[in-house]
Amino acid sequence: MKTPTRIIPAMIAAAMILAMSVFLPDPATTAPETAKPLGPVEKIRTSLNPRPEGWAAPDHTAALERARAPREYVAKVRLEDPKLRQIRFKNLGLGVGDIKYSYMVLDSPLVNTFENLYGPARFMHSKHAASLGGDCALCHHASPEGADAGTDRLSETVACRSCHQESFNPDHPERIGLKAAYHQQCMGCHETMNRGPVDCVGCHAKRVPDHKELVKLPADPSPIEVTKECLRCHQQAGEDMIKSAHWLWKGPSPFTVEREKKVMSGKATDTMNNFCISLPSNWPRCTSCHAGYGWKDETFDFRDMTRVDCLVCHDTTDSYHKAPPAAGMPAPEVDLKFVAENVGKTNRNTCGNCHFQGGGGDAVKHADMCAVLRYPERNCDVHMGGYDFTCTDCHKAVNHKIRGRSTSLPVAEGSRTCEDCHTNRPHYGNGVLDFHLNKHTDAVACNTCHSPVYSKCKATKTWWDWSEAGDKARKPVKDKFGMEDYNWMKGGFEWKESKKPVYTWYNGYMERLLLGDPIRPDADAFWPGENPSAEAKRRMVATNITAPVGSIKDPSSKIFPFKLMDGIQPADAVNNYLLAPHLYPTSPDDATAYWKNLDWQKAFVDGMKAAGLPYSGEYKWVRTNMYWGIKHEVMPKDMALSCVQCHESLTGEKTCDRCHQDRRDMDFKKLTRTGTDFTKMLAQGRDVAELVNATDYIDFKALGYEGDPILKGGRFKKLPLGRVEP
């Protein structure tokens, strides 16, 4: 049977030529859909971002080890009236402070009684204890016989699996097994308290069955064949997906003020930024991050679910990738059959392949996400590096709609905040510091203290001057982070790493300038040909493309950290709105794309035509700002800001007697000064020299306070006893 093996590739090639001639009327163009070359391409099956040798998330690994360690079975227990038990424990002072392990993974071999349909639940012990008022007796309902917390503090609040082990033990038929103990305790309480999940996937990630036998694909299938095969079983997923933001790139904008009712906002329609500006007319380049195949112009059919790219999110091999300027088509070397047979849950790589690369390169746009997060150190991101979180552990998806709001984009499919897990009293201990820190949470967002510098792992772009673009002769100079300051296609740049964010009041809503919206009436501008100095450009009055909404007077606003993206971009001189240039050449004979022809006028004419807005024919350069929320890369708690880093007034204090009459027996200096060690970060090569010994981290006056709230009182609170500092 030699003939068919030779005929099949020939037939495929012939079919492709035929298909191309149908798709592309002009054979001279290198249109995006030709990502698959005619010749044979060597397929790759290896991970593009292999896990570094020895990488492990330490907190998670330790919790797993603890969970799997066997425990001696407590055969005899002492029951006690729950209320009397609670009082007895309280009298002994048992509480959150006694918790040895605040994080647990409930993954004992004892719970895997049939087969592992679901992954283990993560259990935040301290958080649960704290939100139950430190009532240990609520869950620890019985004691090993003979134990006495009066003499051995933790002897009565033992782990669940001390008493609950195998099910149906004939010697203890009434004692339920560990799996049932967890489920009855957790679900029972969640139901009674009407808080916390009671469904399977609320606590457990469902394991994806092995698809090797399930997927039926020919060798070297086309991307669309793969999707059709997925839809054979997952029709509903397809129907859900084509209604999702990842597919439509537009949708409702519930957190954009004055546009809450708008249902069509997004990159696909009217969103702009001060990086590559906007999507219309530049589709093939931009849509290489679209979860679909072939969005190369405005004719893309969003109802055709066979064009959904399932693999880009569900690849577990880390070998799948899209060819950059191919309108979302996979790179030709991707072995699609192999990837399809190894589909699974999303992971840091699948999400990161697009989201770490926002702006066309690692960490360019986002100051709180970069490729380091694929396998980060604990110090870089405590959730991912310490606890091995994936993105969807927080950004949970239902019906392919993914929770979370963005500062840079209006589309939102739900919300996700730190408080959802950590509560609004997240400092769980009952120490004096926890008490004082918890008083901050109404006014200060978590990341203000817990992510005191942005882009600490990789430099991010903070300035983009389009007016300088077009000089092919100018040699790019590398800055201290190794990043280039110029690109003839794009203009001048500035990069920052480990920088202090800007802080402003934010209530979770954004103001947004959309395509066609007028720029500030008092915005400064300069004309083409003019070349103001760098300083003059920075002094220009800027228009905010995005800006947080909030006020010191608004109880729902908190002080929130942002990266400020600054830059110069073109605006229509007559219509006074920002211009959407045609940048990316969609074919070799594209006569208007700026990156080919370096003619702004032509680029604006075609770009604005695609955007559906008139162009007056005259343009000017204006300064724009965007506020990018710092939400990720949360650092471990010992690296949060210390008290004195913001409250300068505490630097001279030696005791608590400014506010309290008694002289407490504690090391006040240590208490108020333990936090982010910028000296150490500096020693590790981070660019934080100006932050070492800073005691004015937050500019209280700029935020609307009279001064340091310790001296002047909070935004809603007077100082105790009407005390006022001179």
């Binding site: 149906f168 049932a180 679900m187």
Partner: protein
């Protein structure tokens, strides 16, 4: 020769009474002493259908039309079928939750593994048998497909491979016999996340059931379904509502085979009844032919 009619009836009547009352022919239960069983605590069931999934895997049953995670199947009441030996049904017996919403009760049904199974009694070939460990076992090689078991079962459990024209079988819960023999628990009991199913010796389960009811009388109906029903079953149920509201049939406490087998045995022991029948026929014929002769 002629026997007066009255005399005949008298003799026959005494005969029947003697057969029925005779201690040698009294019905005896063949129930195992302390079989394995399961106690289903309906108040613990969360309706997750994982038992259905485990049953499907252990018994290598066909893939269901709708996946086990799809809870819409609970919208209709189901019976066990040839492809699903256990099913969970949802009832709203009327209890309200704190927000005034009807709270559901989930009931898993499967073969009750009766102590004295009517199906075993009805089976003409011995394809069904009650094992010492409690399982009501089906031996397909002996089955002739008469489906008497299906008629006999008071719980309407046995199902039939109607779609299979060549080698149809009666299908019902096997109590995962192979797993039991390996010292493992039934699939459904192993997978149940809340231990709504407790597996063990029937005597232990009875004690547990009583303890739970006595320990929380507000939570439980004072009734262990299966303690006496149909003469006792290996699977037992306790619930928070009257079991009749949860789809459980009212089944007499008497072992069902007792009456049927007593009548049968009374009629057929020593082939008494056929003998009597033929004797009557012979007598009748003789009487008739005798009278004819007399005429001639």
């Amino acid at each position: 020769m002629s026997i007066p009619r009255r005399q005949f009836l008298k003799t026959a009547g005494f005969g029947i009474a003697a057969m029925a009352a005779g201690p040698a022919h009294a019905w005896e239960s063949k129930a195992p002493d302390d079989p394995l069983g399961c106690l289903v605590d309906v108040t613990r069931c969360i309706g997750c259908r994982k038992c259905e999934l485990a049953c499907n895997q252990v018994n290598k049953l066909p893939e269901p039309e709708t996946p086990f995670e799809d809870m819409r199947v609970l919208d209709a009441k189901r019976r066990p079928t040839a492809g699903a030996y256990t099913v969970v049904n949802r009832y709203y017996p009327g209890a309200l939750d704190e927000r005034g919403q009807l709270s559901p009760t989930f009931v898993k049904i499967q073969c009750m593994h009766c102590q004295d199974p009517a199906c075993v009694s009805a089976c003409v070939t011995g394809a069904l048998s009650k094992k010492e460990n409690g399982t009501v076992h089906y031996d397909a090689s002996r089955c002739i497909g008469c489906r008497y078991c299906m008629v006999a079962c008071p719980f309407e459990i046995p199902a039939y491979d109607f779609h299979d024209p060549l080698t149809p079988q009666v299908r019902k819960c096997t109590f995962c016999l192979e797993r039991l023999e390996d010292g493992k628990m039934p699939g459904c009991a192993s997978i149940c996340p809340t231990e709504a199913i407790t597996f063990g010796r029937r005597s232990v389960l009875m004690r547990l059931a009583r303890e739970r009811i006595e320990g929380d009388p507000a939570r439980y109906e004072n009734h262990v379904y299966g303690e006496h029903e149909a003469g006792g079953t290996s699977w037992l149920y306790i619930a928070g509502q009257p079991l009749a509201k949860l789809g459980f049939p009212a089944v007499p406490d008497e072992p069902l085979p007792r009456r049927s087998e007593t009548i049968q045995h009374a009629l057929f022991s020593y082939l008494w009844s056929p003998a009597a029948l033929f004797a009557t026929l012979a007598l009748t014929m003789k009487t008739l032919s005798g009278s004819k002769k007399d005429k001639e």
